[in-house]
Amino acid sequence: MASITAVIPRPTSYAGLWGWITTVDHKRIAVLYGVTAFIFLLIAGAEAGVIRMQLASADNDLIGPGRFNQMFTMHATVMVFMVIMPLSVSFFNFVIPLAIGARDVAFPRLNALSYWIFLFGGILMHMSFVVDQVPDAGWFSYANLTEKPFSVNRGLDYWSISLLVLGTSSVAGALNFVVTIINMRAPGMSMMRMPVFVWMTLITSLLLVLAFPVITVGLIELTMDRNFGTHFFIPAEGGDPVLWQHLFWIFGHPEVYILILPSMGVVSEILPTFSRKPLFGYPFIIFSGIVIGIMGWAVWSHHMFTVGLGPVANSVFTITTMLIAVPTGVKIFNWIGTLWKGALEFTTPMLFALGFVALFIVGGLSGVSHAVSPSDFQQQDTYYIVAHIHYVLFGGSMFGIFAGAYYWYPKITGKMLNETVGKINFWLLFIGMNLTFFPMHFLGMNGMPRRIYTYSAEFGWENLNRIASFGYVVLAIGMLVFMYNVWQSRNSRRVGHDPWDAPGIEWSIASPPPPYNFAEIPQVLGRDHYWIVKENAEAAGTPITEPEALVDPSSIHMPSPSYWPIFTAVGVALIGGGLLSHYALSFVGGVIAFIGVVAWSNEPAAAPPKEHH
């Protein structure tokens, strides 16, 4: 087995395309995640555009029901699993090692593997468009609509198998971050000194590790029903379609916190920075995050109020769901407390962070009104829910991600995004978002069901739908402005290592950071480490103007690049692809993955020093 590694010499350089393909550097993997997920965002956003165009007027027949169902299914699946989650992971990757004073994640090659599996899983899902057998049962694909004979083509197989592949990637990534955060903190970085973003990453990763196996089982059962003759969800044979709903939402509700907690973490970094004040009530924010993570497991049936589980179950889930508003409220109050008496500076990241708080409150409050089951009987499966999910997901998760992108961009690239363009970007998204999604509250209460491709004029939904579709145009322009901002930044001047005068450890090193991050692992002084350092320096009369000194890279032993992550990922993807075409291909994939794993474990994480130049 050792011979495999001997035959193919280990890659040694980070230059060129191969450098990216074989990279195990967390900062590069972060960029790969970010760029890939942004492309998926454009695709899913374009699908939303098709939806909005179709709904812009009553009795429209731009696209038929078949296409429409595919559009919202792929829109949501891609947004959730291939946009928000990987964008969050992109931040985990870039920020976590820097924020805890580490040189990389605990398992750099596993990290690369996660990315490649994510990429291939995403491509596999989109192959469904190539064969024109696109998933079309909605993002939670309720059984038994997903069973043959109600869904004859292979669309749902693409959906379930790609999600299984993507799940592998997410769990592998999450395992890595749990270990990294618990085990790789710089000396002095106790748990209660960790930045909130790190805490939220830890909670998110634990949720992922525990929630994904549940949906994995659901997806396996669905795949077996469709391909191997079982009847898990087929009522005619004794199966129960409601079991799918339980499995999906036991995963699904923790999943929505997986989608929001990273953004909450980002915001908790940005608000103090631009208020020039430490975070208000740090322990309460951490603790409420933990409580949310735990309570998130006890509320799943609020998605199933209309299933007919009976008044007892509905009562229990009403109460547990309503109580979850309390820890979330604690966070909101503490963010406001952070602003209080501060010196607020309205940079673009700050605007997005404030936008997050403002919009998330709206989404959270509509969430509470779903939680009251008797009133949810009227709301469930209407546009009122669509309004809720976009306030929390777009106004919440997406705004947090934009805030983080503007905030860390100078650290990632060494260049600033243009602030004026950034502010235009913010206002377009903020206004566009409210134009698009606020009217949906009324549409829902006026009885417009979700997932309908057409509606007749007599229901009086047309005007509000027009506003929403117009709002989409504003959003799309906002997105284009963001892309322009990134594109124009290639010419902008370089900035110093600490453009925001920020408290995080990551700001103490050069921008972009050297491959080894820290020349010397820092000794963490407190919660807002770099503020303390700067203050101490100021007091000593030697204000800090330069980042930590650079050192000769070869003196620091870093993990070396490797072929095996992408090699193994190809194997994993082929296993999935084979299930969708020829089982023989799955076998080949299995063999490839096995070789990859064995070769991998034979290869030392870091090449012996002599291989360094």
């Binding site: 008044p311 509470v368 009324f442 006026n446 009885g447």
Partner: protein, 397 residues
């Protein structure tokens, strides 16, 4: 149009007036343009938003919908209050504490435990209060009142993509099966057993009650009632219903109607239930055609034979291109107002259109995909034959 959705004149203003009242107190306190603008926008949206049209949930016509709306209204105002308060403080902080030139470093406050505890307890009390109230409402609405008139029972079965209504006992001794139009007597509780023959659907008449899913092999029970004192139009009135769970291609076109009528009208409708008489030449020819082409799936002479419906269902579930499938019982088609699950009014012209090619009116439906005579797209029937079928089904003299 005879089918015009039920509307309530005048109630629009009462709904839009209250938000502005609640907002106005705050506006004077917070003399901020931005806030004012935002609130104006919200009020505007409220005013234009809460229309009373067809499917609106703002317009409860019975005790169940009313209680649900009541709870929602309380919630709405509680949430609006929380919204105004929290966003107000947020906005105040944003404006008040913006950085001023030359401002020294602000005080480095780390937290305040008393404040934290207070701000945990207040929301807890609020949500627990609302939660407990909703528990009471839940149990309250579980069963119809035992006092008052006897409930009328209806079995509802969902199919892709239409609803079947069965009245085991209308009081007239008739066993009625019909489709897509539920007729109910006013001021009388209606109990429904909901089930599905294929995938999951959801039964929803916003003005009468929130929705309840229709799940294969689960029988869900619900009830509602239409109150005459809440309806200020002459009976009968027709309300909209819609399937609310994604159930495949024609989910959007899986609608239905509920006609609220006087008990007397209801009784005479029930008494008149029966197959079209076919007493013209035209209709007789149509009857013949119907027997040849349509009875594989449709029944037209009273309640379906259970054995027949079972065989249609299993034919459908086992798939295959051309098989019998469950289809609406057409016995009383001529007394109905709508066609093909409430997507259009039942007129001669529309029925002709439907029979020529159902796909044009309702993409995805199983009549065009599974019936032999639509395998070529348009019906393999001449215009004259279609006229005969129409004459028979609608009893045109």
């Amino acid at each position: 149009m005879g089918l015009s959705p039920f509307r309530r004149a005048g109630s629009l203003s009462s709904h839009s007036a209250s938000p502005s009242k609640a907002f106005s107190g705050r506006q004077s306190r917070l003399k901020s343009r931005t806030v004012l603008f935002g609130l104006m926008a919200a009020i505007f949206l409220f005013a234009t938003g809460c229309s009373m049209d067809g499917m609106s949930t703002w317009d409860a016509l019975g005790p169940v919908a009313e209680k649900q709306l009541e709870l929602f209204n309380v919630l709405l105002w509680a949430m609006v209050a929380v919204f105004v308060l929290v966003e107000g403080v947020l906005l105040y902080a944003i404006i008040r504490y913006r950085k001023r030139p030359g401002q020294p470093k602000p005080p480095q406050i780390h937290g305040n435990t008393t404040l934290e505890i207070t701000l945990t307890i207040i929301p807890t009390i609020l949500v627990l209060g609302l939660g407990i109230w909703s528990v009471f409402t839940l149990f309250d609405l579980e069963d119809p009142p035992t006092t008052g008139p006897d409930a009328l029972h209806v079995n509802v079965t969902a199919h892709q993509w239409w609803f079947e209504f069965e009245y085991p006992d209308t009081g007239s001794g008739k066993h009625i099966i019909t489709a897509n139009e539920l007729r109910i007597p006013v001021d009388r509780p209606i109990t429904l057993s909901l089930e599905s023959d294929d995938v999951i659907h959801s039964f929803w008449v916003p003005k009468l009650a929130g929705k309840l899913d229709m799940i294969p092999t689960h029988v869900n029970e619900m009830w509602f009632q239409a109150d005459s004192d809440k309806i200020d139009e002459a009976l009968p009135v027709t309300l909209f219903g819609q399937c609310a769970e994604l159930c495949g291609l024609a989910h959007a076109l899986m609608r239905f109607r509920v006609t609220v009528m006087d008990q007397a009208d209801f009784d005479s409708w029930a008494a008149a239930y029966g197959p079209p008489p076919a007493n013209t030449e035209q209709a007789k020819a149509g009857q013949q055609l119907f027997q040849q082409n349509c009875t594989l799936c449709h029944t037209i002479d009273g309640p379906d034979d259970p054995a027949l419906s079972a065989s249609r269902l299993s034919g459908f579930l086992t798939g295959g291109d051309i098989t019998p499938v469950p289809a609406p019982n057409l016995t009383d088609l001529r007394t109905r107002q709508t066609l093909a699950a409430g997507i259009t009014d039942l007129t001669e012209a529309h029925l002709r259109e439907w029979l020529r090619n159902p796909e044009d009116l309702k993409p995805g439906n199983y009549m065009s995909s599974r019936a032999v005579l639509y395998q070529g797209g348009n019906a393999s029937l001449s215009d004259q034959e279609i006229d005969q079928l129409v004459a028979y089904l609608l009893d045109i003299r």
